[in-house]
């Protein structure tokens, strides 16, 4: 416990320091439409690497073990990956999180660079991510009933996390505008325990 509090305190101190640095930064005003690196990028076509000399590597599978920042991953087609997490690895598990949130049994997509020893140094890891187009079949206080083809799904609303975008508008926590029968793109994290989906983002009306 003591250790946690200590590192939590240090983290807060560091955040305060970084806030001061951030607010003191150069101000840039303007707008430009550019794609992102967020969770949806997990499903985008492999992006060209920032450095043309480095080829992006992709890995997908189930986490078998987590060992000091290295994920042992069994791929869906029998292959094995060792994925090295670095201090520049972004980890997504329903929301932006840290490597501690990764558990064995989780499914993941990882993008990174293959190192000489065969491990993949990951720049992004998306844990249990699912992205489905479905129809809203029911709306309850804490969940949506969804139909994906003939498949029934339960999507859970996660307070302070689930967001929606209507007709291309900004992401909002206002979820009251969806209707039964509407089609939605659901981005979320699969829950191995009950096979439900924790919803990160709903895109409606496209």
């Amino acid at each position: 416990m003591g250790h946690n509090q200590e590192s939590g305190g240090r983290r807060l101190d560091r955040r305060r320091f970084l806030t001061a640095a951030a607010i003191g930064g150069a101000t840039i005003v303007g707008a430009s439409a550019l794609g992102g690196l967020d969770a949806e990028a997990a499903f985008a076509a492999p992006m060209p690497s920032l450095d043309p000399a480095i080829r992006a590597a992709f890995a997908e599978g189930r986490v078998v073990a987590v060992n000091r920042g290295v994920l042992d991953v069994a791929g869906s087609h029998g292959e094995r990956h060792l994925i090295q997490l670095t201090n520049a690895t972004s980890v997504w598990k329903l929301r932006t999180t840290t490597a501690e949130a990764i558990e064995s049994g989780d499914g993941l997509y990882a993008r990174g660079v293959t190192m000489p020893d065969g491990t993949i140094a990951a720049d992004a890891v998306w844990v249990n991510i699912v992205n489905v187009h479905c129809t809203i079949r029911g709306i309850a206080k804490d969940r949506l009933h969804l139909a994906h083809g003939n498949h029934e799904l339960v999507g859970r609303i996660v307070p302070a996390t689930t967001t929606a975008s209507y007709l291309g508008g900004a992401l909002t926590s206002d979820l009251s505008r969806m209707r039964i029968g509407q089609t939605a793109q659901v981005l979320g994290a699969w829950r191995p325990a009950d096979n439900h989906i924790d919803i990160a983002r709903l895109t409606l009306g496209h």
């Binding site: 955040r15 003191g24 303007g30 992102g36 972004s90 079949r137 498949h151």
Partner: protein
């Protein structure tokens, strides 16, 4: 057993098994259905799983025919009960070993194994047991006690949609829609909600600041926090200097309340902080726009 139940059980079981069996045996989607079941793993291949489902469909059809044609013999009823028991065991096994798989029980619907699947299997078991004890044929029961028979059949028919998801669109969806119309949408509305972090990231990624910082940024969002009206987003980056490439934190600070709807061209503050020395680096590494 109550006479009307046991006498009519062969009729009900036969009428239920016939379409389920025919759907599996002749259905065009049987192979797709089989692909999602635990059978694929148990039988080592989706072709064998498809074959198994088709054989099961044929058995269900044969049982249905036997139940309807020879309702007073024990064997079809006992076989139906055994089928129900088998379903229950199979569901329990699937649920325990592969909860994400579809049960493949209905002819059409796929879905996770839930209470409905178990109730359905249990009803097959109970129906089979009742059918095995039938001592009058269903046709003589119907002609002998038409009112009681009709009531029993109506009750069974009413139970059917509750245990089968195939009919949900007929009753469950209208019920849910009516409930929303009566009680309103239970989900949170726009009143007093804060701007989600994802919306700030979206806003940032549409900004010139992001475009300017992209050559430096080497990660997706690593951390974020709110402080005094600002939302700070931290990314990892690299900064070239004469001694090589240094790891830096790329920090963006933007208005906590802004989104692409309210502030399409936001003011964004960008800073680079050296990861090791914690020095704030000059912003000349950013591809800042030159003044027009």
């Amino acid at each position: 057993m109550i006479p009307v139940v046991s006498a009519l059980a062969p009729l009900v079981c036969g009428l239920l098994l016939a379409p389920a069996g025919a759907g599996k045996l002749f259905g065009r989607h049987t192979s797709r259905l089989a692909a999602n079941t635990v059978l694929v793993r148990v039988l080592h291949g989706s072709r064998r799983a498809t074959l198994a489902l088709r054989v099961l469909g044929a058995a269900e059809l044969a049982l249905a025919a036997a139940l309807l044609a020879a309702p007073t013999t024990v064997v079809p009823g006992a076989a139906t009960a055994a089928l129900g028991l088998g379903f229950t065991g199979y569901l329990a096994y699937s649920k325990a070993t592969a909860p994400e798989s579809s049960c493949g029980c209905g002819a059409r619907a796929e879905g996770p194994i839930g209470a409905r699947s178990f109730i359905r299997a249990g009803l097959v078991l109970a129906g089979g047991l009742a059918a095995a004890t039938a001592d009058t044929t269903w046709w003589s029961e119907v002609s002998g006690h038409p009112a009681a028979s009709l009531l029993f059949l109506l009750v069974t028919a009413a139970l059917l949609p509750a245990v089968s998801s195939d009919l949900d669109h007929l009753w469950l969806l209208p019920v849910r829609k009516a409930r929303l119309r009566l009680f309103g949408n239970p989900l949170p509305s726009s009143a007093g909600v804060r701007v989600p972090v994802d919306a700030s990231v979206e806003l940032l990624e549409h900004s010139l600041a992001w475009q300017a910082a992209r050559p430096v940024v080497r990660s997706a969002l690593l951390d974020h926090w709110d402080d005094e009206g600002w939302r700070v987003l931290r990314y990892a980056g690299t900064y070239p200097d004469p001694h090589g490439t240094r790891p830096v934190s790329v920090l963006f600070a933007l208005d906590l309340t802004a989104s692409i709807d309210t502030a399409p061209s936001p003011a964004v503050r960008v800073s680079l902080v050296d990861e090791e020395s914690e020095q704030v680096l000059p912003a000349d590494a950013l591809a800042l726009p030159t003044a027009p």
